[in-house]
């Protein structure tokens, strides 16, 4: 493992880097907590959160899709009560914790790279968005990255815990294991036997005490998390829920269109891939084992995202973690690049920034929705001219001064612009009103108007005729079962195609505009509450526009909220 150990920088850097990383962590955490409960839930989030709510209330529920999410959220609901904020709290915390991983790596990669890595992991838009979803997607990456860190640091107990977190995150754990196995396997094949043996000999699992400690902490963590800290003993089934999810989906027809992962990668991952690529190339050139393995695994991971696209979004988080390990190196090289002429480099940087800003503006008009197709019009010409100008300036500086100066100036501008574009997506995810990030990163429908429904019900409660604690709700369509999350404080929420005989429920939710057969009369309201993109129908041009304009054509579905007439008019039932 010696070749994996990097060389540290000066002592000052070491001390400062730790503080900087901590500050980045806190900033990332705070950002994640902003408007955490206000972003619309998608149906999968609502189901996950509701399942945790049931566990917290001692009610039976099937095996969790992401047992670690349920294992952490259920006790939280038990102690603090169920709410959208708490439903997303643990994923947010876990996602933010990724920024602390470089603290373990700073001796190996250097302080600067560690800081850059921390920044990337804290503010990467994919990691950011996924860590604000009530589900297990982020836990796979968090668990595996922490496990790797503890593994490198020979911390057996931490390794066990982190591995348990990853194991219980869902089916992506198994895909990740397979992916890493393939990546490492390819690496081993390209190495000579001595190098491969050296890698195996340095493995801490050869020590019995390490094995036992890691094993014990793994098993204990597994049991505690899967059982939601003993709130749900039957939750131990969750130990294999990831495998079960993978198993069952292998026998079903894929329901996610190919275009969706392509769009996600194009819109969100392309910038970071651009950063990571040079580092990957140089890793192979310099025979840097660590870089080689990371690049191989990232490549296989990219492929896995397409192959296992029905298994959720956790793969993207893993991919971005891996890409940031490489990208941080690229950025570090760029920052440490010595330019011969600093003034020229600065000038080139400023000019480059201006041109990039111009390109950003012209790219927006290039994909103007008013145009029915991409034509070579004035916008296109302006864009191409801008690009040519940038290239021309690069060449001029290179010829006039030096390649380093040109790289330092122009490339820095380009990299910074791309970084700004990427992080702008992060800040976009903070706005509840903007559904774009949630639409992109949801495999299920988005409840864009949940708030409208809550407001309506609040108004009726104010009339004094309906108290949630004594009221019942019947959802007649099983496909709307996720709406139970919206009625947590109600006495009874049933999913049944038949209405109760003895007592008419206060609220009925149906998918049809016809009133259900009841003795009482109800007043119905259509709630346009789903936002989902029909990825199979959206054209490539629209997708391109949306990537630039940050808006997707979402289809709305509606359901019907029926409230018992007497509750609205004051009449006696």
């Amino acid at each position: 493992m010696d070749d994996f150990l990097g060389e540290g920088k000066s002592k000052n850097w070491y001390a400062d880097a730790r503080l900087i990383i901590l500050a980045i962590f806190f900033a990332g955490l705070c950002l994640r907590l902003v408007n955490l409960g206000k972003i619309p839930f998608n149906t999968a989030e609502a189901q996950n959160a509701y399942a945790a709510f049931l566990v917290a209330n001692g009610l039976s529920t099937g095996t969790a899709v992401s047992p670690v999410y349920e294992g952490l959220s259920a006790p939280t609901f038990f102690v603090l009560g169920a709410a959208p904020f708490f439903a997303r709290f643990w994923p947010a915390l876990a996602g933010a914790s990724l920024a602390l991983v470089p603290l373990f790596w700073r001796r190996r990669v250097g302080a600067l790279q560690a800081v850059l890595l921390a920044t990337g992991l804290a503010f990467d838009p994919v990691l950011f968005t996924l860590s604000r979803q009530a589900g297990g997607a982020i836990f796979t990456a968090v668990g595996l990255i922490w496990a790797l860190s503890f593994f490198m640091e020979r911390k057996s107990i931490g390794l066990g815990i982190a591995l348990a977190v990853a194991w219980l995150s869902g089916s992506w754990f198994w895909i990740a294991v397979l992916t890493c196995g393939i990546g490492v396997g390819i690496y081993m094949l390209t190495q000579n036997k001595a190098a491969a043996n050296g890698l195996a000999n340095a493995c801490p699992f050869r020590t019995k005490t390490f094995r036992e400690a890691a094993g014990l902490s793994f098993i204990v963590s597994l049991i505690l998390l899967a059982s939601a800290f003993i709130l749900n003993p039957a939750g131990l089934s969750g130990i294999a829920s990831g495998l079960a999810g993978l198993w069952s989906s292998s026998q079903e027809v894929a329901t996610i269109a190919y275009i969706l992962p392509i769009y996600r990668v194009s819109a969100y991952s392309l910038p970071i891939i651009l950063f990571a690529f040079p580092a990957a190339l140089s890793a192979w050139k310099e025979k840097d084992g660590r870089g080689q393995i990371v690049s191989l695994v990232a490549g296989v991971m990219l492929l896995s995202i397409f192959l296992f696209r029905t298994q959720g979004t956790a793969g993207y988080a893993l991919l971005h973690c891996l890409l940031w390990f490489l990208a941080a190196r690229t950025l570090e090289n760029q920052i440490l690049l010595e330019a011969g002429q600093k003034d020229i480099a600065l000038g080139a940087f400023l000019l480059g920034m201006a041109i990039c800003a111009y390109l950003a503006v012209s790219a927006k008009s290039l994909v103007n929705p008013a145009q029915s197709a991409l034509t070579v019009g004035p916008s296109a010409i302006a864009f191409i001219l801008g690009l040519l100008l940038l290239v021309l300036i690069f060449i001029l500086i290179m010829l006039g001064w030096s390649l380093q100066t040109a790289r330092k100036g122009i490339l820095s501008a380009v990299l910074l612009s791309v970084l700004a574009f990427s992080f702008s997506l992060t800040f976009l995810a903070l706005k509840p009103a903007d559904p774009y990030p949630a639409l992109v990163w949801s495999d299920s429908s988005l409840q864009v108007n949940a708030r409208a429904q809550s407001l309506l019900l609040n108004e009726i409660e104010k009339l004094g005729k309906m108290e949630p604690q004594v009221s019942s709700v019947v959802i007649t369509d099983p496909r709307l079962a996720y709406l139970r999350w919206e009625f947590l404080e109600y006495r009874l929420v049933e999913v049944s195609s038949a209405l109760p005989e003895e007592r008419a429920p206060e609220i009925i939710i149906s998918s049809t505009p016809d009133q259900e057969k009841t003795a009482e009369s109800y007043r119905g309201t259509a709630i346009v509450n789903h936002g989902s993109v029909n990825w199979r129908e959206v054209s490539l041009l629209d997708l391109l526009r949306s990537a630039v304009s940050k808006s997707l054509p979402a289809e709305a579905n509606e359901y019907y909220l029926w409230i018992r007439q007497d509750l609205m008019t004051g009449a006696v039932p």
Binding site: A234, S237, A240, S248, V495, E502
Partner: protein, 891 residues
């Protein structure tokens, strides 16, 4: 096809995943338990999943199952330390031939039986719907114990472990339950085949000196075990064909045909019926294959015949009711394997529990406890037999080490308790929810198996066993304890007789019970049943004589005479060959005891007759004796020396003729079914007559030639083959009959519900709809006559929803009475017939009914008033002939 391949892959995975465990624990077996790793893997996986789900630590879903599988994998991984992996790999390399044979046998057996099921897949008739209902109920239940599918609100009261394992395979493979049903039958056939193969392989190889390389013939000879267990059948089919062809009939002057032989034989469906003069037996109704399971008949003292079931494995698989005795087969063979491992020293070790030091290794004991407990959970009847076998094997080891004394008997009893108690405790959640229908024992008195039936039933197995025991006796230089064996056997018979007649004597003296007992025995007024029964037995002593001889010869081989050079009360030298022989004799003796016991006592159940006792005991005896019979036959072939030309030629000719006979017979059978009246004339007028005669003539010729050339073992082998050949008639003829001829081959499907989809499509569409709904209690029609073996309760059977009441007779059997059923039958009638909504609602609320099914059966069974459902309930599903209404009580 895809389902077949998925199941094959699953079995492969489970077997290899569990092999580190069996390799470690079966160290005395030459095969290291390779053939048993599959059934044991399923048992351990099933146990882990069932136990953890019963303790509410797992959900009854795919994730729960995979968690249990991961635990099993982790256990095997833990056993695979670095050194163990190398040892395992080396063993695999050295035993490639065995591995290949086992895997090929598994594949072919699985494929063969899947093919047979695909030609006749319907889950229809006899008790297949019951088993399908169990499987679907287990699949739908959120936890264990699973819901009783035919008595809502209760848990299953039956030994349902086999159905749990079946449901697990169905769920993990993603197969539809109705397809899985048939694949279970096929897979169990294959598991049993390889387990039997492995057992005989171990017996034959263990005899050889360790340094000797395994002879090649053993790999082929081991096929005798699965053949004898699973394919060779009783002689009923042979006799059936002889009867149909008109043998032993004489024609009177007036043209009437009669036969003293067939009248004396008195076989149901055959005797008293005129022959067809065709090779293929014809039956009114077309069901020929059933008769072989009704060979044994009990007669009351007044001459009335009572039905007794005498199934054997081929019949059971052909019937394809995946009943507990079928589901238990691979696991009882695993128990036999563990007993063999024990007797060969595989359990030798030390286990310290507090101040006690047991001379056996703990892991092996644990495995035996789990296996025995699992057998009790699979088919409770089997538990004591294999418990006794394992205990006897262990006590024999003690005898070898310490010599014989009275202590060994005490140790035997102690071992039985020491294994039984933890076996029960390990499966305690089952016993807490189980109520047995058994209610004590009754003396058999008038009911005994006549010798002719006993030999028809067990002939193919008795021939090699008796020949083997005599041969062994004559071969061994050391004289055996004949006198002691004689006295022991006599004492046993006397004790059983005294016990049975003693109870009977007391029973006849009791006022009320006495009358019941006498009427059960069919005793006439003033008739002394004790003497009448004794007289009847003395008139037909065949079974008694056979069993006496068998037990006497077996014990003789075990017991050493007084004054022998190596006294029994001293430690004995370890001789593998002798140990193997002793083990086989134990199998023979256990089978003998199993068939002897019902001659004197039987278990009391709802039927009140020997039916179930004979069924269960004889089936296990077949398993034990088939292993022993295969062993002796293989020994005969081994002992005859190198094969001569004629000893290869004659069997080859027999095989050729057999194939020709099968082809011609079946071809004719098809033609016969097409043209019902086929009269071939007297014997000797059809080509097939000569072929059949040729087969038996050749076998006798073979035996004679072997005998004349002083190859006595070869002659014995030939006689055995002759006995087997007679037992091979049934599989050929009955399979063709059951499948319905070649027409069945045109539409092969494993879907057991296809028949229902073809004939009651609307009902099955309702079933499909119900499968998508949340679990709830449903209600459907109940037959006035109970509904057993009919299509009543089909909706519940295939949907997995518990119904208020299913087959009344079976529910009463499981519950030991009608108490739990209460007024359900009447309430259901009210629900469907009444036009008063309040009355109907009261029934719905009483049983917490969520789904009301209305279909063709409901309309036929009741004076149906459906309008109230339409008015007050939601219509969840509708089609031309079936509707499902949904009710929510709103409590």
């Amino acid at each position: 096809m895809i389902d077949f391949l998925k199941w094959f892959a699953l079995a492969l995975l489970i077997g290899w995943m569990n092999f580190p465990l069996t390799h470690r624990l079966f160290k005395a077996l030459p095969s290291r338990g390779f053939a048993l790793s599959r059934p044991l893997g399923l048992l351990l996986w099933g146990y882990l999943f069932w136990l953890l789900t019963s303790l509410k630590l797992l959900n009854n879903d795919l994730a729960g199952q995979l968690t249990a599988l991961l635990l099993l994998a982790a256990l095997n991984l833990a056993l695979l330390g670095r050194g163990a992996l190398k040892t395992l790999a080396a063993w695999v390399r050295e035993n490639r031939k065995l591995i290949l044979c086992v895997e090929l046998l598994f594949f072919f057996a699985f494929a063969l039986w899947a093919f047979v099921r695909a030609a006749n897949p319907a889950v229809l008739g006899t008790e297949k719907p019951m088993e399908m209902a169990f499987i679907n109920a287990i699949l739908r239940s959120p936890s264990f114990p699973p819901n009783d599918p035919w008595l809502s609100g209760y848990a299953i009261s039956y030994y349902y472990f086999g159905y749990v394992i079946a449901a697990m395979l169905i769920r993990i493979s993603g197969s539809a339950a109705a397809i899985g049903y048939n694949l279970v039958a096929a897979m169990w056939f294959a598991l049993t085949a390889i387990a039997a193969y492995g057992l005989l392989f171990d017996l034959l190889v263990a005899r050889q000196k360790e340094s000797v390389k395994k002879p090649a013939w053993i790999y082929t000879a081991s096929l005798l075990a699965p053949a004898l267990l699973l394919i060779v059948s009783n002689w009923h089919g042979f006799l059936d064909v002889m009867h149909a062809r008109g043998l032993f009939f004489s024609t009177a002057v007036d043209g009437t045909v009669s036969s003293t032989f067939w009248d004396w034989l008195n076989l149901k469906e055959i005797s008293g019926v005129n022959p067809d003069f065709s090779w293929f037996p014809l039956r009114w109704g077309g069901v020929q294959w059933w008769g072989a399971s009704r060979v044994v008949q009990d007669f009351q003292l007044n001459g009335n015949a009572l039905e007794v079931i005498d199934e054997f494995p081929y019949f059971s698989y052909l019937l394809s009711d995946i009943h507990p005795h079928v589901l238990g087969m691979p696991f009882v063979l695993a128990a036999i394997g563990q007993a063999l491992n024990a007797i060969l020293g595989g359990w030798d070790g030390k286990t310290r529990i507090r101040r006690w030091v047991l001379p056996w290794s703990l892991p092996e004991m644990l495995l035996a406890v789990l296996t025995l407990g699992g057998i009790a959970f699979l088919n409770t009847w089997d538990f004591p037999f294999y418990l006794a076998l394992i205990a006897a094997a262990l006590v024999y080891r003690r005898w070898l080490a310490l010599g014989w004394s009275g202590k060994r008997i005490g140790e035997f009893l102690l071992l039985c308790v020491a294994l039984a108690v933890p076996a029960v405790l390990a499966y305690l959640p089952f016993y807490l929810s189980f109520s047995s229908q058994a209610g004590g024992i009754l003396p058999s008195l008038a009911f005994f198996t006549q010798g002719k039936y006993f030999w028809i039933m067990f002939g193919p197995l008795l021939v090699p066993i008796l020949l083997g025991l005599v041969w062994q006796l004559l071969r061994n230089k050391e004289k055996h304890g004949l006198r002691t064996a004689f006295w022991i056997t006599s004492a046993l018979f006397a004790a059983l007789f005294a016990f049975s007649w003693g109870i009977s004597f007391v029973a006849t003296r009791l006022p009320e019970l006495g009358q019941l007992f006498l009427s059960l025995q069919g005793a006439a007024e003033g008739q002394n049943p004790l003497t009448a029964a004794l007289a009847a037995r003395l008139k037909s002593p065949g079974t008694g004589i056979t069993l006496f001889l068998l037990l006497f010869l077996g014990l003789s081989a075990l017991i050493k005479p007084k004054g022998s050079p190596q006294p029994e009360d001293r430690p004995q030298p370890e001789q593998p060959a002798r140990t193997v022989d002793v083990f086989v004799i134990l199998l023979v003796l256990l089978g003998g005891l199993l068939t002897l016991a019902p001659e004197f006592v039987y278990l009391r159940d709802q039927f009140g007759t020997r039916m179930n006792t004979i069924f269960k005991f004889y089936f296990q005896a077949w398993i034990l004796w088939s292993a022993a019979g295969a062993y002796f036959t293989a020994r005969f072939f081994e002992a005859r020396g190198s094969a001569k030309v004629w000893s290869r030629l004659i069997p080859a000719l027999m095989l050729l003729l057999g194939a020709a006979a099968t082809f011609l017979g079946l071809y004719r059978a098809d033609a016969i079914f097409a043209r019902y009246n086929q009269n071939l004339g007297a014997f000797g007028t059809a080509p097939l007559d000569y072929i059949i005669a040729g087969i038996f003539g050749l076998s006798i010729l073979w035996a004679l030639v072997e005998f004349i050339t002083r190859r006595r073992a070869g002659a014995l082998a030939a006689l055995c083959v002759c006995a087997f050949a007679a037992g091979l008639v049934y599989p050929v003829v009955s399979t063709w009959n059951k499948l319905g001829g070649s027409a069945s081959l045109e539409q092969l499907t494993l879907d057991g519900s296809q028949y229902y989809r073809d004939y009651w499509p609307d009902q099955m569409r309702a079933v499909d709809w119900l499968k998508q709904q949340p679990l709830g209690v449903m209600v459907e029609a109940v037959s006035d006559t109970g509904g057993s073996y009919t299509t009543y309760a089909s909706v519940s059977t295939f949907s997995g929803m518990p119904t208020v009441l299913g087959w009344i007779g079976h529910v009463a059997q499981w519950r030991g009475g009608y108490q739990e059923m209460g007024s359900r039958q009447d309430d259901i009638r009210v629900l469907y017939s009444t036009n008063n909504w309040d009355e109907a609602r009261a029934v719905l609320d009483k049983y917490n009914i969520a789904y009301v099914y209305v279909g063709e059966l409901e309309a036929r069974t009741y004076s149906l008033d459906e309008s109230k459902f339409g008015e007050h309930l939601s219509l969840g599903f509708e089609s031309a002939n079936a509707r499902v209404y949904v009710y929510s009580p709103g409590k």
